[in-house]
Symmetry: C2
Subunit: 165 residues, 2 copies
Amino acid sequence: MPIKTLQDLFIHELSDINSAEKQLSKALPRMARAAEDPALIAAFEQHFEETQGQLERIDQVVEAGNFKLKRIKCAAMEGLVEEAKEIIDEIPKGPVRDVALVGAAQRVEHYEIAGYGTLVALAKTLGHDVAASTLHATLEEEKATDIKLTELAKTTINRKALLVK
Amino acid sequence: MPIKTLQDLFIHELSDINSAEKQLSKALPRMARAAEDPALIAAFEQHFEETQGQLERIDQVVEAGNFKLKRIKCAAMEGLVEEAKEIIDEIPKGPVRDVALVGAAQRVEHYEIAGYGTLVALAKTLGHDVAASTLHATLEEEKATDIKLTELAKTTINRKALLVK
């Protein structure tokens, strides 16, 4: 299916973020098991639950608009998940791995912030007002998760890792 | 070189962003040639110049701290650049490709915002104050580029693409 119009691009971007969310949905439980800090584990588990809701929102947008998603694999999320795997392989469980996991998770959140930001702008331009507000709700969740991870890093995780010799 | 301490992780993250910037530095001229809108071409060209300065800042941090960067390839930036290539392959030159290129570039910017955000926090925690402020300057440039791309999309590029039938 070639991309000719802005509507085609909207469907392509929606298919991309759908693939990204599905890949993340598989990675988050692994990241939660790999973490040590209880608050970080809880944050990953909570974001896993949120991700299920975000996938449901994509389904709602698809059904309401009678859109047909493409079966594509988001290459960027593949790279981001690969980076998280490398961290788990290279760093033993503990405070330093936790800091690295926060960094990997924030890269993921920022990918999604950019992706949903584009989607909301395209939906508005195309006059898909309900889709725009549905996707905007997810955008706000991704931003809130990013801020939460920053707070977690600043208040406890980074300092705990500094003590590792 | 295993990652045991927060300092090891700082070097790992610095090596990762160094690889990301180098990959981006090769991709930006291709993105500029692939774009049609003059303001978007100018934005890509300007960000290419900025990227050279950002690579120099990494060199400054490395030299001042007498750090040794690792030769690693940033997997996430590989995926992000791959996505930009797919756009160029799949969408003919014109307004719709321009919108897609803005989306790809904003994903790249957000990767860098997350990466430099982590680096600045680690530098501060480790007491590398000069490195923190040098890397913070780049972080602010990445944020400004992201905002500029959003403005470009909102004011002209998205609307031009809506007219493509």
